[in-house]
């Protein structure tokens, strides 16, 4: 009996020493992929993919920032690509292994956050705008409407300092990424003045309440705006006249990855028009992949909410991560607004 156990142990040890089965560890935002995306890749390559999701950028950063998280691929938003690269967390991309890179729209081939796409490829993108009930006349046009007392306090802004400051800063004619003390202070005072007109600070969850009619106007992501307008036709979505914030989520390979070759294959797979179109459809968001967009049904392809026309899109500004001092300034101002 003893000996048999011993032999089983030896066999087990031998099993362990065999080459590790090839596996890819992918860490993405929750609800941000199509059902078939991962299984199809597994079928086509015979490789197992361990796919997990996170709810916030901070959750992901906390896991990968030590450099031994075990993930191969993560999907940070554009604001974190440069900081992660500076921290040495990202592996450089080998464009020769990404033949589908040419499918991206021109403006996503050389974005400000990662010039020449040395470390990241754009995955999906979006913007923040205004979802409103069209019974409100005149219809809201910009962030300035959040300072008007004509909605009976049935107005919300997102529960996120970046988004709320972006709105106030844009209204005052500044950059969404401003960390100038004077501008932050001005935005803070403006927001404290607007707060009595707001019902709540509430993020994507507000969609239900706009659809149900509790809330007449809400700051919200275009993606949520699209879903709400699908549910109720008398809702509208406006891209604010003063300008608005844009974000793009990007696929990166971590420097710690032990499967860079496989990871490149997954990245190239995500760049395939059929794959990217399928994801954009499944999560109702905009794809930066021009070839994928051409595959979408016409009403999705030409959706003015997800793909605003060029003159509107030109008012958008990409988020950047603020350095420590600016971030701290904003957080204190945010606490002041919230406790006012």
């Amino acid at each position: 009996m003893r000996r048999r156990l011993f032999l089983m142990g030896v066999a087990g040890a031998a099993g362990c020493s065999r080459a590790r089965e090839r596996r890819l560890y992918v860490y993405n935002w929750s609800f941000y992929i199509a059902k078939e995306t991962v299984p199809r890749f597994e079928r086509e390559t015979g490789v197992e993919v361990r796919y997990r999701t996170f709810e916030s950028a901070e959750e992901m950063l906390a896991k990968v920032s030590a450099g031994n998280s075990g993930w191969d691929i993560v999907i940070p938003s554009n604001a974190f690509v440069a900081p992660m690269r500076e921290q040495g967390l990202l592996a450089p991309l080998d464009h020769a292994r990404l033949p589908n890179l040419g499918n991206l729209e021109d403006r996503f081939r050389d974005p400000a956050w990662d010039p020449g796409l040395g470390y990241s490829i754009p995955y999906m993108y979006g913007a923040t705008g205004i979802l409103y009930n069209r019974s409100v006349r005149p219809e809201p046009r910009g962030w300035a409407d959040f300072w008007q007392d004509r909605y009976g306090r049935r107005v919300t802004m997102m529960d996120d300092p970046s988004e709320v400051f972006a709105a106030a800063l844009k209204r005052a004619g500044h950059s969404v990424n401003s960390d100038a003390a004077g501008e932050i202070d001005e935005a803070k005072r403006d927001l404290i003045a607007a707060k009595p007109l707001l019902r709540a600070f509430i993020s994507a969850d507000v969609r239900d309440q706009v659809v149900a009619g509790d809330v007449l106007m809400a700051q919200i992501w275009a993606q949520m705006g699209r879903l709400a307008v699908n549910e109720r036709r008398d809702l509208g979505f406006a891209y604010p006249a003063e300008g608005f914030a844009l974000y793009c989520d990007n696929v990166v390979i971590l420097r710690e990855s032990r499967e860079p070759e496989l990871a490149h294959r997954f990245l190239d797979y995500l760049l395939r028009p059929d794959v990217s179109a399928e994801i954009a459809q499944a999560v109702t968001t905009a794809t930066p992949n021009a070839a994928a967009r051409r595959l979408l049904p016409v009403e999705a392809r030409e959706d003015p909410i997800l793909y605003p026309p060029p003159d509107v899109a030109a008012r958008g500004e990409w988020y950047r991560s603020l350095p420590a001092a600016g971030q701290r300034l904003r957080d204190r101002a945010w606490t002041e607004i919230k406790s006012s």
Binding site: E58, F80, Q87, D159, A212, T335
Partner: protein, 276 residues
């Protein structure tokens, strides 16, 4: 005998060290570090995070949290004491009622708070019902105010008040009440002069069990308060999320812990020994 005792204590001691002391030490370490340029943290070591805690802004938030938590605790006591009395005098049905008190724990707190949103919002069940009855014309603003925050806290932590109260009341010798009656005390007098003083340990335990989690609450003020007025728990939470300032969040939570400890010792005085 002594060795046996050591062996029986070992698992609890291990759990305390692994799940409590080690994380606390980590937080202590974090609180003396410097935040990274964009995220993360590291050397140099500094006390600057503690200096920032003593900003009057955070003092004001802390005061607000104290007030909201104290009101919630008082309400829990007012609701919990009659309930615990009722259960302790319900004979065979005690266990059923106790299980009912604990029933909400079977579902996630987050889900239950979302349920409150569905109940309280303008187009929610309560307003729709009142409007149908013709009691009100315009919906009552029940959600996204301090009242909703207190409601959420009382709802969430009431069982923590009821259970220790029940535990003391159950042990209460009924002959003492009888003796009070024999000596001429009316039921109300007997309650004030006999029952209440005897269940003081339960009241203290319940108050502590409710007050402390209320003070650290962040879900309820976010979801039911609509993020319009924050509690100190939200400030701490923000440091670990949007602000990405872990060292400051760690310092803030440690100072908060120390203040709560001091407040408890001061409030309960010598009697805090039964709790700590």
């Amino acid at each position: 005998m002594n060795r046996l005792r050591t062996w029986f204590l070992a698992p609890a001691a291990t759990v305390t060290v692994v799940l409590f002391l080690i994380p606390l030490t980590v937080i202590l370490g974090y609180s003396a570090m410097t935040r990274g340029a964009y995220f993360g943290l590291g050397p140099p070591w500094t006390l600057a995070n503690y200096a920032r805690v003593f900003d009057p802004l955070y003092g004001a938030v802390l005061w607000r949290s104290f007030v909201l938590s104290a009101v919630s605790t008082a309400l829990c006591l007012t609701l919990g004491l009659p309930l615990a009395l009722f259960i302790s005098r319900s004979g065979k049905r005690r266990n059923l009622y106790l299980n009912l008190v604990m029933l909400p724990f079977w579902t996630s707190f987050l889900v239950r708070i979302y349920a409150w949103i569905f109940l309280l919002r303008d187009t929610g069940l309560v307003n729709a019902f009142l409007q149908k009855l013709g009691v009100i014309h315009d919906p009552l603003p029940m959600l996204y105010n301090d009242g909703a925050v207190i409601l959420g806290l009382v709802y969430g932590y009431l069982p923590f008040m009821v259970l220790p109260l029940y535990a003391t009341l159950e042990r209460l010798d009924p002959f003492l009440i009888e003796a009070a009656a024999d000596l001429g005390a009316r039921p109300a007098t007997a309650f004030w002069k006999v029952t209440l003083p005897l269940c003081a340990p339960g009241i203290r335990a319940g108050a502590v069990l409710v007050f402390i989690p209320c003070l650290g609450a962040f879900l309820v003020p976010d979801l039911l308060g609509g993020g319009k007025s924050i509690m100190i728990g939200n400030v701490v939470q923000n440091q670990f999320t949007t602000a990405r300032d872990w060292p400051f969040g760690a310092a803030l939570s440690l100072v908060l812990m120390a203040l709560v400890m001091l407040a408890l010792l001061a409030a309960l005085g010598r009697r805090s020994e039964d709790l700590l």
